[in-house]
């Protein structure tokens, strides 16, 4: 139960319309918050955080809610969900500088639409872009297929503004593409799941839309052949924007997304086709041409990491390993799934070493698969599971190092443990 005085205070800060006791849709791992607030300005949000801090009431920052299955349950009886979706403006877009500053609650669909008008893009490609927010993507550190060519948010973020646990507002970075003025606080907030501060706005460097684009689909009867192509690509001087490996049942495919100058795209299509055939592809087809068509095609299978819609018997895991170990890791995932009688679907950033695994089957089988897989591949993170399973599994994997130092950081930034308590690694 929330103290009534806090509810009144929050209503006064954010306005009665921005406060809701319809909390069921905002349950975290099956537990609903006491209250949901949606501040309309950064200042209101900061005041609300300060009020919760004074009352020692924990907060769960919430963007589009597309990755709230990540992490562990909230380590508190009572908590408030703080939505950022009231903050959805473009603060500053300098098209000729290729930089933009946006509020954290803006969705990727809205952001991409604004950028498209200027022939620009922010190629972070989260699943469910119409729901996924900028702040949520940064807080979760989610990656997209095109990290291969353009990097992740870690490489594209140039400035940030946060509200700290006490309600203080601070910023880091700026609106320029190169900056070593003081510590890089951005890296601290990125991927820390809102446990150190709440991201309220972010500045990015933008990428011009490529003049040409194509997507090539290569089908393989066996995964080994697909990996022959992956090995050849990684040893080449080609520069594809993304190379995704997909496996569902026995068949494997590789989709290469190519972006750049028209002549360079043609050359890539030619070379990747030849390399795929040499690797023993059963079929190679030019699946999409032109930026818009390629975007549409990739949006169609970018849902592999999504955890919004989860079947009752489904578990979604993110596996991370060195690129050269991906084949072996996926081989283990496959063999263990077969042993446990689980259905397995895989989508991997083939040249990077990040794979998303979707498994379906009984809880016992999922538990057994997870334990055996984790013993071999410590960087295995469960990002989607039914609440009971998520609560009992070591969802952050077995490769957690330097926890003492991380606890000190958490202690320094959130001594009362009020920001997403218990959900991340410390």
């Amino acid at each position: 139960m929330l103290p009534a005085s806090l509810t009144r205070q929050l209503a006064a800060i954010v306005g009665p319309d921005a406060l809701s006791e319809e909390t069921a849709p905002f349950a975290v791992h099956g537990r609903a918050p006491a209250l949901v607030i949606t501040p309309a300005t950064v200042e209101d949000l900061a005041r609300a955080v300060a009020a919760c801090h004074a009352a020692r009431v924990p907060l769960v920052p919430w963007g589009g809610g597309t990755r709230q299955r990540w992490g562990r349950p909230v380590a508190a009886e009572t908590f408030v969900v703080l939505r950022t979706t009231g903050l959805r403006s473009i603060l500053l877009h300098e098209p000729d500088d290729l930089t933009i500053s946006v509020e954290a609650g803006m969705t990727f669909a809205a952001l991409n639409a604004a950028l498209a008008a200027h022939n620009q893009m922010l190629p972070l490609d989260p699943p469910r872009p119409e729901q996924s927010t900028v702040g949520g993507l940064l807080a979760s550190g989610a990656d997209g297929p095109r990290r291969l060519a353009y990097g992740t948010s870690r490489d594209l973020l140039i400035g940030i503004r946060v509200v700290e646990a006490t309600g203080r507002i601070s910023k880091a970075g700026g609106m320029v593409v190169k900056n070593v003025s003081g510590f890089d606080m951005m890296k601290l907030y990125l991927g820390s799941l809102g446990t150190l501060a709440i991201i309220v706005s972010a500045n990015f460097k933008l990428i011009p839309r490529p003049r040409a684009a194509a997507s090539l689909s290569c089908f393989f009867a066996q995964p080994e052949r697909a990996f022959r192509l992956i090995t050849a690509l990684s040893a080449s001087q080609l520069t594809p924007a993304a190379v995704e490996y997909r496996e569902d049942g026995a068949a494997a495919s590789i989709e290469a997304r190519i972006e750049g100058l028209p002549a360079a795209v043609e050359r890539h299509v030619r070379d990747v086709r030849r390399m795929a055939e040499e690797a023993g592809a059963g079929a190679v087809s030019l699946a999409a041409e032109g930026f818009a068509e390629v975007e549409r095609r990739w949006a169609g299978f970018n849902d592999a990491p999504q955890t919004v819609d989860l079947a009752a018997d489904e578990l979604v895991a993110r596996l991370s390993c060195l690129p050269g170990a991906l084949e072996a890791a996926l081989g283990d995932a496959r063999a263990l799934a077969a042993r446990e009688g689980l259905a397995l679907r895989v989508q991997a950033r083939a040249l990077g070493g990040v794979a998303y695994l979707r498994l379906r089957g009984g809880d016992e089988a999922l538990r057994a698969w997870h334990a055996a897989m984790l013993a071999r591949w410590p960087h295995l993170v469960v990002i989607g599971a039914q609440p009971a399973l998520a609560a009992e599994l070591p969802v952050w994997g077995a490769a957690l190092a330097n926890l003492d130092l991380m606890r000190r950081i958490k202690q320094e930034f959130d001594p009362e443990n009020l920001l997403n308590p218990g959900r991340y690694v410390v």
Partner: protein, 482 residues
């Protein structure tokens, strides 16, 4: 403890050859490439391993002697200058590339490895280390990590932060940790990200997994000559705004051209007021078309001439001139002060105009050699250090450049770091809250201010004090008034 005891103990840890205590030899270590401040170290140690670094740190921690890390000393913000004395820990003896893992595109290096030598070592495998500061033939990867170093090719490939996969570092209590190994989706707070650019204040890097970048299939370089810097700056702004993705866009102005012409016999026409070096790379296909489009922009902005550097030898000559331009300044003046700021790229033409004005107002010549594509300025203020008035005017001119950069929406350092040179300008850019958050991070690692104390944070606003303000909940002004 007295100095001789300290030296004795240090010798026990690193061996007699690893300690520099001779007063004359110590003078070598009183500054880095930033000549405005100097300080005398009590002693210099040259450990050969992480374990030895740990031993030195434990000793320093026990006796409360500050530690100042030092790579090659090419830094330009006084980051390696022992302003408060203490023990300088040099990485000079930790200079080995320990492993090249070509399959995974990474290399394990000790911090004293020279940037250029790493690129040479990985070349046979078809790789390069992309960050390429102008001092790359001397500077170390440890120093690159400390200052999140840049260089011309950061325009396309990103600064050092994007190329560090994980580090081994020694914390102030002497413990040795690894922050990552190249695993692409690590879990936990991004310690690798925060150590990069932290200027040796929170941990001493003793090894690093660095990301390697495939050598491009093809490279094209042209040098576009302009009557003045305005045309060159406008070309850069337009090239960026048009959505081209060059590998590098570098500008040299008239004074810089004069210096490198004399030194490298480039044979550039004397009437050229600015040279714009454009490099594109990638697969061969389409590069000529891309270059043609960019040179069209140059012609439109009044270029006098566009000269392609076709062979690798010609390209190397152009790049050597660009990268050694700072050295060539010795032909123009006894001393120079190299300023490092960044502005949004559209503000480049106006900012360069202002730099010209500042040069006139302070009656000192200013040469410009800079990473235009990133908006990263490097005005080089030429003066004679022995002349007190010139000294003063040089400092004032540098301050004026910083003010203009901030007014234009820019920042006070793009790649050199804050060190001691710019610590007092931090308040122009950051609020007390912003600095307090940085102090909070610092305190999590180094609560007793053992590593490189007195740097980065403004004088009189030390990180300990800022962090204490934070902890005391010295409130956000809005709340105080309620």
């Amino acid at each position: 403890m007295n100095r001789s005891q300290l030296i004795e103990e240090l010798r026990r840890i690193v061996g007699p050859a690893g300690v520099v205590a001779d007063p004359v030899a110590l003078m070598t270590y009183d500054a880095d490439g930033c000549v405005m401040d100097t300080g005398e170290p009590q002693v210099v140690v040259l450990p050969a391993s992480a374990e030895q670094v740990s031993g030195v740190v434990r000793l320093a921690s026990r006796y409360g002697v500050p530690i100042v890390p030092r790579g090659a000393g090419t830094g330009l913000s006084g980051g390696a200058t022992p302003i408060g004395g203490g023990i300088v820990v040099s990485t000079a003896r930790m200079d080995r590339v320990l492993e090249i893992d070509a399959r995974n595109g990474r290399a394990l290096c000790q911090p004293g490895v020279i940037n250029w030598e790493l690129s040479q070592a990985v070349r046979p495998y078809g790789y390069q280390f992309a960050p390429d500061p102008s001092s790359q033939k001397a500077c170390t990867v440890g120093g690159n990590i400390a200052n999140n170093a840049g260089g011309p090719h950061c325009l396309k490939y990103g600064t050092t932060a994007s190329h560090v996969l994980g580090v081994q570092m020694v914390l102030p209590d002497g413990s040795i940790i690894w922050t990552g190994d190249g695993n692409p989706a690590p879990v936990g707070y991004d310690l690798t990200g925060v150590i990069t650019g932290s200027e040796g204040t929170i941990g001493l890097v003793t090894a690093a997994w660095l990301k390697l970048t495939r050598l491009p299939e093809a490279v094209r370089v042209v040098l576009a000559l302009f009557p003045d810097i305005a045309g060159a700056s406008a070309s850069v702004s337009q090239v960026i705004a048009s959505g081209f993705l060059p590998a590098a866009l570098e500008i040299m102005d008239r004074l810089a051209i004069k210096a490198v012409n004399d030194m490298y016999r480039l044979g550039l026409p004397e009437q050229a007021g600015a040279a714009l070096l454009i490099e594109v790379d990638g697969v061969d296909d389409g590069l000529d078309e891309l270059l043609a489009d960019m040179t069209t922009v140059c012609w439109r902005n009044g270029a006098l001439d566009v000269r392609p550097a076709r062979t690798p030898a010609e390209q190397n000559q152009v790049w050597a001139a660009r990268k050694n331009a700072f050295g060539a300044m010795g032909r123009l003046a006894p001393t120079y002060y190299l300023v490092d700021t960044v502005v949004p790229r559209t503000r480049l033409p106006y900012t360069m105009e202002q730099v010209g004005r500042i040069s006139q107002e302070h009656r000192l010549p200013i040469a410009n050699v800079f990473h235009a594509g990133d908006g990263n300025l490097h005005p080089i203020i030429l003066f004679d250090r022995r002349d007190r008035s010139q000294n003063q005017r040089a400092l004032e001119a540098a301050t004026a450049v910083m003010h203009v950069s901030i007014e234009q929406g820019g920042v006070i350092s793009g790649e050199h770091g804050i060190g001691v040179e710019k610590q007092d300008y931090m308040t122009l850019l950051f609020s007390t809250e912003d600095l307090a958050a940085m102090a909070g991070l610092h305190q999590s690692f180094d609560p007793y201010d053992l590593f490189n104390p007195g740097k980065v944070f403004p004088k009189g606003r030390g990180c300990g004090e800022l962090a204490a303000l934070r902890r005391a909940g010295v409130a956000w002004s809005e709340l105080k008034s309620r």
